[in-house]
């Protein structure tokens, strides 16, 4: 390794162009080439010398990062006046510029208005140094407390589960401090094995300490107990505590056994509690669940597709459980699916197979569709959309045919709304405008007209979101948020159905050529309350930037952040009429700022997908902020 570096060491010195540039900056115009060369050698040498001295200061300062202070001290060591005014805690934002065949890295110094500095309120005083004690180890065993790092870091758990043979290498084993006392022995074992070329996974202890046993008991009881407050606490603990690694096998078994028993007994509440536990485990940043998926996935899938989950399927809302579990499934597919385990494709296959089966019950059918739909727009597009017609026929027979049973009817109804909900947004994306009911009917059969209206809603809503007036806060109530906005772009027509707080400035030109009648009747949404979402995981952050670019066509789409399993709520495509779809329940829309210009095009960007960089620096950001994701409210356009 040293060999690779060394040839470079020898040759590194500043280019003569730098000398010229520096000379110019201090007003020396014409510098001889020879002087430049001589200077650059000298300067490079001195810089290296100073850097080497500065390293000493870094080492004695017990730091890994070289700071400007180190350089100052090194200069002082050489009796050179330090460079004053280059205080930088973190990094120095050098910028790069090129032009005229020259390349420059420079430090942008802005002119600072003194009065600005005087007038700005003082920043908060930084906290004073303080001392805090905790137990790093108790008689050789590291306690699992938040002050200590998780006993097995997530990366290591991942390595262990994906490449089990690597684990016994001594270097990595030292990371695992769980064994504490026995470490020396195991380490020695590991070494011996390597020598003998026999690779065995080291035995790991699965004994829980008394404290851990107590904890486990408390947590599991609270999770399935009757006290909701306690349960919330317990779930919080599971989702955040760093020391649960050793208890994972227990939790995993607890959940899978619990589901097995309660499905038979049709105990809906308990199933929901168990699924919330799964959710909490997945949320824990220190756990890597891959090793326990074989227990967890069957449990989750059971909760999605089981024929009966509750005692009274006609009344109980087992649909919510199926939705929730489907989302969990999608999340674990996203996190753990690899080319070796193929979770996603196996799951997809399972769902599709039972969905295609004619004898499948409506409940299972619902679960299959929900499970597939949660896997993302691509899956919807390829697997669900082609079957819409067939499914439509099936629904029609139940809905309009002779009443077979109430349960079937409810089931069909739910399947229908599920399909509408998920498909509308996808269709809105892939289908060009205009949306004609007839066309839809021919394409999608029975569900066509309803789809058509949903699609239009979706389009309108996205457009609407792009036009929210400053600081408008709007929360759409459950169920099936339906908010319709006419596309005429006239604020007057908006007033009918939309809440009065939503105003579209008349200066904004909306793109839809269609007449401004709300195309979809919707339950009157009279109450708009700001609420928090109950679905815990939603981390979708949507940033919509309205920029007054040259293109007249608005481009608005919201993209879910990578971790979220939720579907994008509003999707608008260029060239398509604005539609307003029902979005997921309980969202808070905050429009941070709005363009002042008349022609504003809407451009949407996800905060997590840096797909495009706006050519126009300023405009508006609109944020759809699930109130749970606190970070979103402070985000800036870029």
């Amino acid at each position: 390794m040293a060999e690779e570096r060394r040839p470079k060491q020898c040759s590194v010195s500043l280019p003569t162009e730098s000398m010229k540039a520096i000379a110019e900056s201090v007003g020396v115009g014409q510098l001889q080439e020879e002087s430049c060369a001589a200077l650059s050698e000298e300067v490079s040498y001195r810089i290296k010398e100073i850097a080497q001295d500065a390293l000493k200061f870094m080492h004695h300062g017990k730091r890994r990062k070289l700071t400007t202070n180190d350089i100052d001290n090194a200069l002082k060591l050489k009796n050179v006046e330090p460079l004053y005014g280059f205080q930088s805690q973190e990094f120095i934002p050098f910028r790069f510029a090129s032009g005229g065949g020259r390349e420059l890295h420079f430090y942008e110094e802005k002119e600072v208005d003194l009065s600005d500095i005087i007038n700005t309120p003082l920043p908060r005083v930084p906290l004073d140094v303080s001392l805090k004690a905790h137990w790093l180890s108790i008689e050789g065993v590291q306690p699992s407390i938040p002050e200590n790092p998780p006993p097995a870091p997530k990366e290591q758990q991942k390595v262990e589960s994906t490449e089990p043979l690597k684990v016994i290498k001594p270097g990595q084993e030292e990371e695992g401090t769980i064994q504490g006392k026995g470490q020396g022995a195991t380490a020695a074992d590991g070494k011996g094995k390597e020598k003998g070329l026999i690779r065995l996974k080291p035995r790991s202890t699965h004994e829980l300490s008394v404290e851990q046993q107590l904890y486990y008991k408390e947590i599991t009881e609270a999770c399935v107990g009757s006290c909701e407050a306690k349960r919330a606490e317990a779930l919080q603990s599971i989702a955040t505590d760093p020391g649960l690694y050793q208890m994972l096998p227990r939790f995993s078994t607890f959940i899978s056994e619990g589901v097995r028993v309660n499905v038979v007994q049709n105990n809906l509440a308990l199933l929901i509690y168990l699924m919330r536990m799964v959710k909490a485990l997945m949320d824990n940043p220190t756990l890597y669940l891959e090793k326990y998926l074989h227990e967890l996935i069957p449990a989750v899938v059971t909760c999605i597709v089981s024929k009966q989950l509750c005692l009274r399927p006609d009344v109980d809302n087992h649909w919510a459980l199926r939705d929730f579990a489907a989302r969990l499934m999608a999340q674990s597919c996203k996190t753990f699916s690899t080319t070796t385990n193929n979770i996603q494709s196996r799951i997809t296959k399972t769902f599709t197979k039972s969905w295609l089966d004619d004898k499948t019950q409506w409940t299972t059918r619902y679960g299959c569709i929900a499970g597939l739909a949660e896997l993302g727009p691509d899956v919807i597009k390829t697997l669900i959309l082609p079957r819409l017609t067939i499914e439509g026929v099936r629904i029609k027979t139940v809905m309009e045919g002779p009443v077979v049973s109430n349960i079937d009817k409810i089931g069909a109804d739910h399947v229908q709304s599920l399909l509408l909900k998920h498909c509308a947004s996808v269709i809105a994306k892939i289908r060009p405008q205009p949306d004609s009911v007839e066309q839809y009917r021919t394409d999608y059969g029975y569900l066509g007209p309803m789809l058509c209206s949903h699609v239009m809603k979706a389009r309108t809503q996205a457009a609407l979101q792009a036009q929210q007036v400053n600081r408008t806060t709007l929360t759409i109530t459950q169920p099936r948020p339906t908010l319709t906005v006419s596309q005429s772009g006239l604020s007057g027509s908006l007033g009918q159905r939309t809440p009065s707080i939503i105003k579209v400035p008349s200066s904004l030109t909306l793109m839809s050529p269609r007449p401004g009648t709300p195309s979809q009747p919707s339950p009157p949404a009279t109450k708009y309350i700001v609420m928090t979402t109950s679905a815990g995981a939603s981390s979708t952050q949507q940033v919509i930037t309205l920029s007054s670019s040259q293109t007249a066509s608005p481009v608005t789409s919201t993209v879910p952040s990578a971790t979220s399993t939720l579907q994008p709520l509003v999707k608008l495509e260029p060239g398509s009429g604005p539609g307003l779809t029902g979005s997921r329940p309980l969202q808070k829309y905050i429009v941070v700022s709005l363009p002042s210009s008349a022609t504003s095009s809407l451009e949407a960007k996800s905060s997590v997908l840096p797909t495009s960089i706006s050519s126009n620096p300023l405009e508006a950001v609109m944020k759809l902020d699930r109130s749970e994701s606190p970070g979103a409210s402070t985000q800036s356009p870029h």
Binding site: M1, A2, E3, R6, P7, Q9, C10, E41, E42, S44, Y45, E49, Q52, K56, F57, H59, H60, G61, K62, R63, R64, K65, T67, N69, N73, L77, N79, V80, E81, Q89, P126, L127, D128, V129, S130, L131, K132, A133, H134, W135, L136, S137, I138, E139, G140, Q142, E147, N148, P149, P170, E174, E175, T177, G180, K181, Q183, G184, A187, A188, K191
Partner: protein, 749 residues
């Protein structure tokens, strides 16, 4: 104004000024204590002559520098006054001024001549005859610039530059062709030879050849020389050689190699056959080859010992007798009933009762043959409070947990929050009641980690008011109102890199980038003394375990031994070739260990000032040192992320502990020496089985005599535990008297 001037003068003539204080120190020491420095007759005479004959010219020189500075700043009046005061003729300034600006090395021309003969005679000395441990470096510290000229002039004889590559590759071919057993030994020659040939090329202005030479052969060098090579690579002009310290080290000290007689003969024969005078000259002049009889060493053996800036320590350098035993504990009567009687008891009731089977109790019975005599160096008398503390100590010791592989200590971690990367040093008091931190913002902060708050003595006015006859006068003088858990000590003007509590907890030492060591009172929380002398950053300081003395070391490569009541150092230990990065007192206070960026550890005798041990083997600057409680062993940690164990009596490396992945900043033995704890930049605390490491060793006579160590790689067996902290580098460790391990570091989120 005066202070400012001083600083500026430094800037103008820094090299000369830098050496001044050390000379002064020498002078004073000569007067007080006789010769202190570990110098050979040769160099001591040079220093002496410098002192006696060159004293006047040097003063004058300084004056001239000042005058020049004043003139430059157009302070003509001051110039006049000063000149009149000093009685200098007007023209002398001009003449000398011109001289110094031209030569760049100051007006030291006179002293160059004066030293010239002396120094060159040093250089021309035959390799084997030189025996002094630290002759050349002393000179280096003594005077810089003249020395460089003299030393570098050794390069003036030059061969044909393009042939250098031929010579070197010729030797390389030869060494590659010799028998395997000799190859490893002879390969040691490559590095010093490479460096010297390169420097010779640079010195003679063959820049392109030098570059080509470097590029061609630098890759062959051992990886642990990478740091030095980096310095070397940046150096491509003769002018750069002036004032480059690393370079100076190569020149002034001979690179020491240990080679078996057979291998040496082989090399010699080859070079003589080939008439390869160029290489032979370099070997003669710049290398010290320590020839031994017997089997050539293996590559592994060589690699463990090499790595330092100037090769291995010479064998005879580690032969001096070291009294590593502990001093006899003073007889203190331990009260029988430890609960309540302790206060009255220490007066005199002879209730003799030693703590049972206590290690130190048994030791104090008979005199350890390896222990120095009690009065070898004068130690402070025990005060009553010290005795009280000793009693406390013994009591605690009886409650001490016996540690072992099956009984690991608990670790309590003190995290410094909101330190903003500014924590640079930490120390605990021996009784673990206080913790002090040195910070990059020049402050020293002292915390009380017990419920007892820190109280200062009241102000003088308030003290007048209290009743001096009352029994609890000691309580009354303390100011209860300002009591707090944290006291901040302001005084330094640069980051505080070293910190050390006095054993009696009355004082605190801190050393800083500003070149001073400060002594703080923990009664008044004010600075008592600023010890000046280093002038360059002081990297570390450590109180003697018996108090009163302390050691400091820093960038000026000189370790100084001080007594708290002297403002000038008692001893100056010079010999290191680069910054002294860590310092530590031996438990018996008779020796001092210093670790350095030259990648060696030296052990110095406080009494004579001699260097009695040189330990080589680290491949990076040494940042942590720890003596075992029995005084026999030394552990050291460095940026190479290894911990090495040394047997002080035999002067041998006895263990290598690998496992850390970053600089080891702290080391500590448990109170009974069974466990070694190491803390590192890699955010871990590791515990090592010290008992096993020391017991396993069989030091046969042969190893002792030849110094050939062969270490088996048993780090994994010795490692008892690894404890990861949450992004908190561990920069200090401390075992409480009951063997609880305390660790400290700053949390870097």
């Amino acid at each position: 104004m005066a202070a400012v001037q001083g600083g500026q003068v430094d800037a103008v003539e820094e090299k000369d000024i830098k050496t001044e204080p050390s000379n002064d120190g020498c002078g004073n020491n000569n007067a007080n204590d006789g010769r202190l420095l570990s110098t050979s007759p040769g160099s001591s005479s040079s220093t002496g002559s410098n002192k006696s004959t060159a004293g006047a010219p040097e003063d004058q020189q300084t004056l001239l520098a000042v005058l020049q500075f004043l003139r430059k700043n157009k302070l003509s009046e001051s110039v006049e006054i000063l000149r009149r005061e000093a009685g200098l003729p007007e023209d002398s300034l001009d003449l000398k001024g011109g001289d110094s600006s031209g030569a760049g090395s100051g007006g030291a021309a006179g002293s160059v001549d004066l030293e010239g003969g002396d120094a060159s005679s040093l250089l021309s000395r035959v390799t084997s005859s030189s025996s002094a441990v630290a002759q050349a470096p002393t000179k280096a510290a003594g005077e810089d610039q003249p020395d460089v000229n003299v030393v570098l002039s050794a390069y003036s004889q030059q061969g044909d530059p393009p042939l250098y590559q031929v010579y070197y590759s010729g030797l390389k071919r030869f060494i590659e062709s010799v028998l395997d057993c000799h190859r490893a030994e002879l390969s040691q020659v490559f590095y010093p030879l490479f460096v010297h040939m390169y420097l010779e090329l640079v010195y003679n202005n063959h820049e392109s050849e030098a570059k080509a030479f470097f590029e061609k052969f630098s890759g062959d060098q051992e990886c642990y020389y990478a740091d030095d090579l980096r310095v070397l690579s940046s150096l491509s002009k003769r002018e750069h050689m002036r004032g480059n310290e690393t370079l100076l080290d190569f020149r002034t000290s001979k690179f020491v190699l240990r080679i078996s007689r057979d291998s040496y003969q082989l090399l010699k024969r080859h070079l003589q056959e080939r008439q390869n005078n160029q290489i032979w000259n370099i070997i003669q002049e710049h290398l010290y080859i320590d020839i031994f009889d017997g089997m050539p060493r293996s590559k592994g053996q060589i690699d463990t010992m090499s790595g330092s800036l100037a090769g291995e320590g010479k064998r005879e350098a580690n032969k001096a007798k070291v009294y590593y035993g502990l001093l006899k504990e003073p007889e203190i009567e331990l009260p029988l009933d430890d609960e309540d009687e302790e206060a009255e008891n220490e007066e005199g009731k002879p209730k003799k009762k030693k703590p049972k089977k206590d290690s130190m109790g048994s030791k104090s019975k008979k005199q350890d043959p390896n222990a120095p005599s009690q009065t070898r160096i004068p130690l402070p008398e025990l005060k009553d409070s010290d005795k009280l503390d000793k009693i406390m100590y013994m009591k605690e010791a009886t409650k001490r947990i016996r540690l072992g592989p099956d009984n690991l200590p608990s670790i309590c971690f003190y995290s410094f929050l909101n330190a903003y990367q500014g924590l640079t040093a930490v120390d605990f008091t021996d009784d673990s009641s206080l913790i002090a931190g040195g910070f990059a913002d020049s402050t020293v902060r002292v915390w009380s980690v017990t419920p007892k708050k820190l109280r200062k003595v009241k102000s003088a006015a308030d003290l007048n008011l209290i009743d001096k006859e009352s029994d609890d006068v000691l309580e009354r003088i303390m100011d209860e109102k300002t009591a707090s858990e944290l006291k901040v000590l302001y005084g330094h003007s640069g980051p505080v890199y070293g910190i050390s509590f006095s054993p009696d907890r009355n004082y605190l030492l801190s050393s800083s980038e500003d070149g001073t060591v400060r002594l703080w009172s923990l009664q008044t929380f004010t600075c008592l003394v600023g010890y000046k002398g280093h002038n360059y950053p002081v990297w570390d300081t450590h109180f003697s375990p018996h108090g009163y003395y302390f050691i400091s070391g820093g960038h000026d490569r000189v370790a100084r031994l001080w007594a708290t009541d002297h403002y000038q150092p008692l001893r100056m230990f010079s010999g290191h070739l680069a910054d002294i990065t860590s310092t530590r007192f031996h438990p018996n206070s008779n020796y001092v260990a210093t670790g350095s960026s030259d990648r060696t550890i030296r052990l110095w005798d406080v009494l004579s000032g001699n260097c009695v041990r040189i330990f080589t083997g680290h491949k990076g600057p040494i940042h942590a040192l720890a003596f075992s409680p029995n005084g026999k062993f030394l552990a050291s940690g460095a940026t190479d992320s290894r911990v090495l164990l040394w047997d002080i009596g035999h002067g041998l490396m006895i263990g290598e502990l690998k496992g850390h992945t970053d600089t080891v900043y702290s080391l500590r033995f448990s109170r009974d020496g069974e466990i070694l704890a190491s803390g590192s930049m890699d955010n871990t605390v590791r515990l090592w089985n010290a008992t096993k490491a020391f017991d396993d060793l069989e030091t046969d006579d042969f190893t002792a005599a030849t110094g050939h160590v062969h270490l088996q790689d048993n780090s994994q067996e010795l490692l008892l535990g690894t404890y990861m902290s949450k992004s908190t580098p561990v920069i200090h460790l401390h075992f409480t008297r009951r063997n609880l391990l305390l660790a400290a570091g700053a949390y870097n989120p």
